[in-house]
């Protein structure tokens, strides 16, 4: 295998041109421009002078902005934990399903990607709002029940709709809904590779189901868990649409602040600095995680 492609270097190079061009032209160069802006200053409404200043970063590490980043991280962490709790049983169920239903179940997991995120979020709003589908259904049953108890002389009183939209609950709910497939798929990939005979051995040798899960399944699924956590956590920290549409007065996340810098506030250098601050932090967290896991492997 190795030999075959080293021999065909020319073919490899030609095949590599489009993706490399794409990566450069549409990712690295624009990213570089924004990175440059983060060391710049507004000269007028339309001009930015990149003069190597650190003032944007100094501004970005004010407690106000660090607090918002921390809060975004907290939202993302809660989302990730919930996704893990919900996603693990789902991944196990798919792993143990028959070959035929497996394909269908995976399709169901991926189905939401066929619809634009914005449209799905608007649909969630219609479900959660004060006069939305959930409250509509609850009111229907409440009124039915109230009618029954009314016959006995004790009506239940008017239905109080649940406040489900425009608060932090709605934001976490929306984030879990959006991110769940990103958790389930890597978990499934890890669990599907798992050698079933190890589970049988564990059960045969006297471990209960819980012990088997804890000491055999989870350690073997760790790579899946780690990648699932990363691909859930990182996009959640930078979530913009979900807090914007589902959130309440205290649901501002860092991406909403960044968005305003590029729009109303017209402060691109500061918005760029905030974006990159977030990126530096994410890189740092991944690096720390990598070092920790390498040390642990080295000890084992």
């Amino acid at each position: 295998m190795d030999e075959s492609w080293t021999k065909a270097k020319a073919v490899f190079a030609i095949l590599a041109i489009p993706p490399v061009f794409w990566l450069l032209a549409f990712f690295l160069i624009p990213l570089g421009v924004i990175w440059g802006y983060s060391f710049g200053e507004n000269k007028s409404l339309t001009e930015i002078a990149v003069n190597g200043t650190f003032s944007n970063y100094v501004h970005a590490i004010k407690p106000l902005y660090l607090g918002i980043i921390l809060k975004s991280f907290w939202f993302a962490a809660v989302t990730t934990v919930l996704c893990l709790i919900v996603g693990f049983p789902v991944a196990i169920a798919i792993t143990f399903a028959t070959e035929k239903s497996k394909a269908w179940l995976l399709l169901l997991i991926m189905l939401p990607f066929w619809t634009n995120l914005l449209i799905r979020t608007y649909a969630l709003m219609a479900v959660l709002r004060t006069e939305g589908y959930i409250n509509f259904t609850l009111a229907f049953f409440w009124n039915g029940l109230s009618g029954l108890t009314g016959l006995l002389g004790h009506p239940l009183g008017a239905f109080q709709p649940l406040e489900l939209l425009h608060n932090n609950f709605a934001v976490v709910f929306g984030l879990v809904y959006v991110q769940l497939p990103f958790m389930v798929l890597p978990l499934y990939a890890a669990l599907d590779r798992l050698d079933r005979s190890l589970l049988e051995a564990s059960l045969d040798l006297g471990a209960g189901h819980l012990t088997t899960f804890r000491r055999v399944v989870v350690p073997l699924a760790t790579p899946g868990i780690v990648s699932g956590v990363l691909v859930t956590l990182i996009p959640s920290i930078g979530a913009y649409l979900t807090p914007d549409l589902l959130g309440g007065p205290s649901s501002q996340m860092i991406a909403n602040v960044i968005e305003r810098q590029f729009k109303t506030a017209n402060d691109w250098p500061f918005g760029a600095a905030l974006s990159f601050l977030l990126m530096y932090m994410t890189f740092l967290a991944i690096a720390v995680q990598a070092i920790v896991s390498r040390n642990r492997r080295a000890r084992d």
Partner: protein, 367 residues
């Protein structure tokens, strides 16, 4: 009877605003390529016009009428916010002939030297303007802009849920009475400027100490505020999510047609006036067509056709005269003069000011 739950309606700005980011890069790829040139008109310009406008902001036959009258076909593209408009043009005009910024952004465009001065000789219909719109503070002498509509911010509310008419900003900014049912506009400038107005100051030249007082007031009020909305206040009001909201008169006038329990008032402290204006950006490929278009819109009949559809207040006396009484005498579309006397235009006061306002609302949202 309120509507049963259903998908959220799109309005002038909300849905498009969300999609805008995704669509921004795509919509203009082939706006004015070197491809086919169409027929040339008597003025030596191609018989085409690129109009960049708000959504749901023309009459049903406006563009086809213009084509019938002049032979010029209009291609209209839509923007959702002034920021989107400004961002699109600040790197150079991609080929628009006419744009429709709001007053404050007329100032921004002017400062950034992105507008072409208007040739008044080509716009004889400017005599139709109402006297109050001939010489506005944001464009003295109307050198760069002609008014399309105007708007005023006020309070939209559900009559059956209020104790009397909520004719003070107090009920949204500074009182627990309607706790949990209040919507506040999330635009930084509008929030801070209206807060200052409520506390007795003009919406212009607000001192730093007063900005802090306004921020403290909103932070105190936050537990009672249900949502800081993005100009979809009329939809939230209609769907019953909130009962009292800071919003534009034109937006509330539209939903009042669907629900008679809704109403609108401009608070007694006064408010902010806005005016969306027709301008020609620098680098417009067909400036003479653009002048023809602006003159066409300012014609009484053509104007009336637009306002019949969009229900926004007009700045055009000739069009107003042709409108039915349910528009002309509608106190929501045209609040009484003594109320209007206490309203003023906000002004663009520089980037530092915009940054300060933004940081202040960031602080309020984060508190």
């Amino acid at each position: 009877m309120r509507p049963v739950p259903g998908p959220v309606r799109s309005s002038r700005r909300s849905l498009l605003a969300g999609l805008g980011a995704a669509a921004a890069g795509l919509s203009f790829a082939g706006l004015d390529g070197c491809a086919s040139r169409g027929p040339i008109g008597a003025n030596g310009e191609e018989r085409k016009l690129n109009l960049y406008n708000w959504d749901t902001y023309t009459g049903k036959t406006t563009l086809s009428d213009f084509k019938a009258a002049t032979g010029i076909s209009v291609r209209m593209s839509l923007f959702a916010t002034n920021d989107e408009l400004f961002a699109k043009l600040k790197a150079g005009n991609p080929g628009f002939d006419v744009i429709v910024p709001s007053n404050e952004y007329v100032t921004r465009f002017r400062i950034a030297e992105l507008l072409m001065p208007l040739d008044h000789a080509k716009i004889p219909n400017r005599v139709n303007l109402l006297p109050g719109f001939v010489n506005p503070p944001f464009d003295p002498g109307r050198r760069y802009s002609m008014p399309y509509t105007w708007l005023v911010l006020g309070i939209g509310y559900r009559k059956s849920k209020m104790d009397g008419v909520p004719d003070s900003w107090k009920w949204v900014m500074d009182s627990p009475r309607y706790s949990g049912r209040i919507g506040v506009f999330s635009e930084a400038d509008d929030m801070i400027e209206l807060g200052a107005k409520y506390l007795g100051h003009s919406v212009r030249d607000i001192p730093a100490a007063l900005i802090d007082r306004v921020a403290e007031m909103y932070i105190r009020q936050k537990p009672h505020i249900k949502i800081f909305h993005h100009d979809e206040g009329q939809d939230l009001l209609l769907s019953g999510d909130i009962d009292i909201v800071m919003e534009y008169n034109g937006d509330i006038a539209q939903v009042m047609l669907e629900d008679p329990d809704l109403d609108f008032v401009v608070p007694r402290e006064g408010s902010i006036l806005n005016s969306d204006c027709l301008c020609i950006p620098k680098g417009a490929p067909r400036p003479d067509n653009a002048h023809q278009f602006i003159n066409f819109i300012l014609d009484g009949h053509n104007g009336a056709e637009i306002y019949q559809t969009i229900k926004y207040p007009t700045a055009n006396a000739a069009a107003l005269a042709l409108m039915p009484p349910d528009y002309r005498d509608n106190p929501v579309i045209f609040p009484p003069p003594e109320v209007m006397a206490r309203c003023e235009y906000a002004d663009f006061e520089g980037l530092d000011r915009a940054h300060l306002f933004d940081e202040t609302v960031t602080r309020i949202f984060a508190a």
